[in-house]
């Protein structure tokens, strides 16, 4: 059942991702601005611009250009960057690990922050500790990620020089070291929503009849919290986390910019500004696949956590 469901969702991913690239392709071409002028510089003659457009097929009609993009795509080729004059696939391949590690690191850290504090708040509802956690998480919701990032850099990169001030680092440890502050920035952005959702669900779960029954049967408080409380509260939190990660995929550009990370978001913005159409198309495709996969994983996790949910 689950395999069939996943298979169907993966198949559906194809038209959705292509639909996104179609929208992006025509919308970016509708915005005035030619890559020829950006590439050739301010002294470009009209002759040089015409030659550039001819060389890259930019003088052909938009439907033809899109058809050529699809044709290349079905042959496993995303085309060549107009600026770097190298394959889009290779350019994206070097960026994907950065963005994926940013997203996964941020998600893991946000869970590590949200879960304990949600548990603490839920087990002391209305008490001072609960109020403090709720207040802090509300304040966290109002902080823009670029401000959080810059503050963390100043605090933990400059005042207490514990982490690199941006960059991706070299080697595995260098990457881990460099990615901590960006991931923490993402975690601080997501954790408040996750924490509040988890707290509410946990309070509901801990106040339910089956929990009262478990307690009456002498089940330990720790088991009640983990087995009955968290298991049920996590269901809604997983959805919240999934949706947040989906939004974050598009929002990584801010974090990547602040921390000078060579990820997909940064490449996407540069390419939009330069009108490097093949890269924009390629990254849009990757982003849409990532978002679809995250939502699929969320649904699968939902079904695994709650046996009552039937996928289909």
């Amino acid at each position: 059942m689950l395999v069939r469901y996943v298979g169907r969702r993966l198949l559906l991913m194809v038209p959705v991702a292509l639909g996104v690239t179609l929208l992006v392709f025509f919308s970016i071409h509708m915005v005035p601005g030619s890559p020829a002028y950006t590439f050739l510089g301010p002294h470009a003659s009209h002759k040089a611009v015409a030659a550039f457009n001819q060389e890259w097929g930019l003088n052909r009609s938009l439907p033809v250009q899109y058809w050529l993009f699809l044709d290349r795509l079905f042959h496993g080729n995303l085309g060549d960057s107009l600026f770097y004059q190298s394959s889009v696939t290779s350019l994206i391949a070097t960026r994907v690990p950065v963005t994926l590690s940013l997203l996964t690191g941020g998600a893991v850290l946000s869970v590590l922050i949200a879960v304990p504090f949600a548990a603490l708040a839920a087990t002391h509802p209305g008490k001072l500790i609960d109020q403090v956690i709720r207040f802090t998480s509300t304040a966290g919701l109002g902080m823009p990620s670029f401000w959080i990032g810059t503050t963390l850099i100043i605090l933990l990169g400059l005042v207490f020089p514990l982490f690199p001030v941006g960059g991706y680092g070299n080697g595995l440890w260098g990457h881990v070291d460099s990615m901590f502050l960006p991931c923490l920035t993402i975690a601080i952005s997501i954790a408040p929503t996750l924490l509040r959702s988890l707290r509410t669900s946990l309070i509901d779960a801990l106040g339910s009849d089956y929990v009262a029954f478990a307690r009456a049967k002498g089940v330990s408080a720790r088991t009640v919290l983990y087995k009955y409380g968290f298991r049920n509260a996590t269901i809604s939190a997983v959805s919240v986390l999934g949706i947040n990660i989906g939004f974050l995929v598009g929002g990584t550009v801010v974090i990547e910019n602040v921390f000078a990370l060579p990820g997909l978001g940064q490449l996407m913005i540069t390419s939009i500004l330069d009108r490097d159409f093949p890269i924009v198309q390629g990254i849009t495709l990757i982003f849409s696949v990532i978002v679809i996969l995250v939502y699929l994983l969320t649904d699968v996790a939902y079904a695994l956590l709650d046996p009552r949910v039937r996928l289909g």
Binding site: Y37, T38, H43, F83, P116, L120, A221, L267
Partner: protein, 529 residues
């Protein structure tokens, strides 16, 4: 009770994770931040200089780049026949040692430096020079085809002699040979295919490519065969792309980078007094203009253009945009270039004169117009608002037309604007490039029609053309002085200010210098420990 303990323990997981990673992080970076020492007066060898810039390079092929980041990085790898002196007013030999010009002024014989090797150990010869220069204009779509446009042919009479034959007596040729695009690479890509070669290019410059992580970082290491014995002093230079102004500054302050290219103007004064940081404003060839499109009827009228030129308070713009770190322009040319004429009577702020000029125009009551500004470009938005308010007393109602960067460039290049902020820098120290593009109009204009303004003054066109073919420096200077005088009286644009190149760098960096053309070389740069 047990719940309390377990939940508190759980809550502490987050703190433990943070603390553990924090302590671990301290091992790797504490030293760099606490190792500030005083600068040494004697040259020290070694070290890799990390150079933060706003964006990455686009290509390692010097004939294919027009963005400054690529140009300036490529100059560390390839060297042309000549290069500019630090004051930007003369040329000195680089890959050539001397030249002679034929009696008919059409054949330039360059004598090449002996003993120069590429970074693969191969000796540089005239065949390499010929191949490299021919590549510049090999395709019409190459950005620098226009620079070599007057070259008719190149011959190599000997291993160390190159003869460049021009179609006409071409005065800027020696300066053209100092253009980065004419930097020397091995003949026929040293036997490789073009794509293999450009993955690991070879030049004669002080550095060679270690790796290029596209969009992020270009790592250069010293060329073991560099012809200047004992140089470069550095082991390497890493050009890192850091788009955010604040992050570049923070990396400089933390010691993880040694040079911050173009810090925000608002930070310049503060950086000037910061211990451990040197803040330098290098004289540049950057002139900022307000361009008028003469396809618009109002701007065909010279009195309108003069009225606007007189109505703009340049000092106010410099204060608001550059935080005072610029100078008022009186000419299209900056004082950093040899053709600058200090006596050029360019229009300066004078509202009375502006009103008189407006009264003399065909539109004494004013008109409505649009000013193109880049959305998100705070400098242009600020300048736009100042211009908007300063033209109001003339009856000129200005609407700001905000568009994004690529669209702005396209609209400018296609002359689809009414007024627009424009700027110019030059890539060679000869005035020809800048004059041709920012002042020359008519059929001779090489595509930009006086910086997209469609200005077409036959006298200016003729003087610029003459200056290209007169080989006496003093005669050329006199011609360019005349051009500047005419442009002051019949301006295609309002000359606003001269903007320096701002660099903040660690006090451990020595001998760093930026030329008026914006480029920098690293063979003499060293880092104190």
């Amino acid at each position: 009770m047990r719940i309390n303990r377990s939940t508190i323990a759980l809550a502490s997981v987050a703190v433990v994770v943070l603390a553990t990673t924090t302590v671990a992080g301290a091992v790797g970076h504490g030293q760099a931040a606490s190792s500030a020492k005083s600068a040494h007066s004697t040259i020290q060898r070694g070290g890799t200089l990390v150079f933060d810039r706003g964006s990455d390079i686009i290509s390692l092929d010097p004939t294919q780049v027009s963005d400054n980041e690529s140009i300036w990085a490529d100059e560390c790898i390839y060297e042309p026949l000549y290069k500019a002196t630090q004051n930007g007013k003369e040329l000195v030999p680089d890959m050539a040692t001397s030249y002679s010009l034929s009696a008919n002024k059409l054949s330039w014989t360059f004598n090449l430096r002996h003993g120069v090797k590429f970074s693969n150990g191969q000796v540089m010869t005239s065949a390499d020079v010929k191949f490299s220069i021919n590549r510049v204009a090999a395709k019409a779509s190459n950005p620098w085809t226009f620079i070599n446009a007057d070259i008719a042919s190149i011959t190599t009479p000997s291993k160390y002699q190159v003869v460049i034959n021009t179609k006409t007596p071409w005065a800027p040729l020696q300066a053209d040979m100092a253009l980065f695009a004419n930097g020397v690479i091995p003949n026929n890509y040293a036997g490789e295919t073009s794509s293999v070669f450009w993955a690991h290019p070879i030049g004669t410059g002080p550095f060679m490519v270690k790796q290029w992580i596209k969009g992020n970082e270009l790592e250069l290491v010293k060329n073991p065969y560099y012809w200047q014995k004992g140089k470069p002093y550095l082991d390497g230079v890493n050009f890192v792309s850091v788009p955010d102004d604040n992050t570049r500054l923070l990396q400089l302050e933390s010691g993880s980078a040694q040079i911050d290219e173009f810090p925000a103007w608002s930070q310049v004064s503060e950086l000037s007094s910061k211990p451990g940081i040197t803040m330098t404003l290098f004289p540049s060839s950057w002139t900022q203009f307000l361009g008028f499109n003469e396809q618009i009827k109002y701007f065909k009228d010279v009195h309108v253009r003069l009225a606007i030129s007189y109505a703009i308070d340049r000092a106010a713009i410099i204060k608001a945009v550059l935080f005072g770190h610029g100078t008022v322009a009186n000419s299209q040319v900056t004082p950093a270039l040899w053709d600058y004429d200090a006596s050029t009577p360019g229009a300066q702020y004078n509202l009375t004169t502006a009103k008189k000029q407006m009264a003399m125009s065909a539109y004494p009551k004013g008109f409505s117009t649009k000013l193109l500004v880049g959305s998100g470009n705070q400098n242009e938005l600020t300048m736009g608002q100042i211009v908007q308010s300063e033209l109001a007393p003339l009856g000129i109602k200005v609407t700001l037309q905000e568009v994004n960067g690529a669209q702005e460039t396209t609209l400018q290049d296609e002359s689809e604007f009414q007024m627009s902020f424009l700027y110019d820098t030059t890539d060679i120290i000869d005035p020809d490039e800048l004059m041709t593009f920012a002042a020359a109009g008519g059929p001779g204009a090489q595509g930009t029609h006086a910086e997209f303004t469609n200005y077409d003054n036959t006298q200016v066109n003729s003087l610029i053309n003459q200056a290209e073919h007169v080989l006496s420096m003093s005669a050329r200077k006199a011609l360019y002085d005349k051009v500047q005088l005419i442009l002051a009286q019949d301006p295609p644009m309002a000359y606003l200010f001269y903007q320096p190149f701002a660099y903040a760098y660690s006090s451990k960096v020595h001998n760093f210098f930026v030329y008026p053309t914006g480029n920098y070389h690293f063979e003499n740069v060293w880092l104190s420990k």
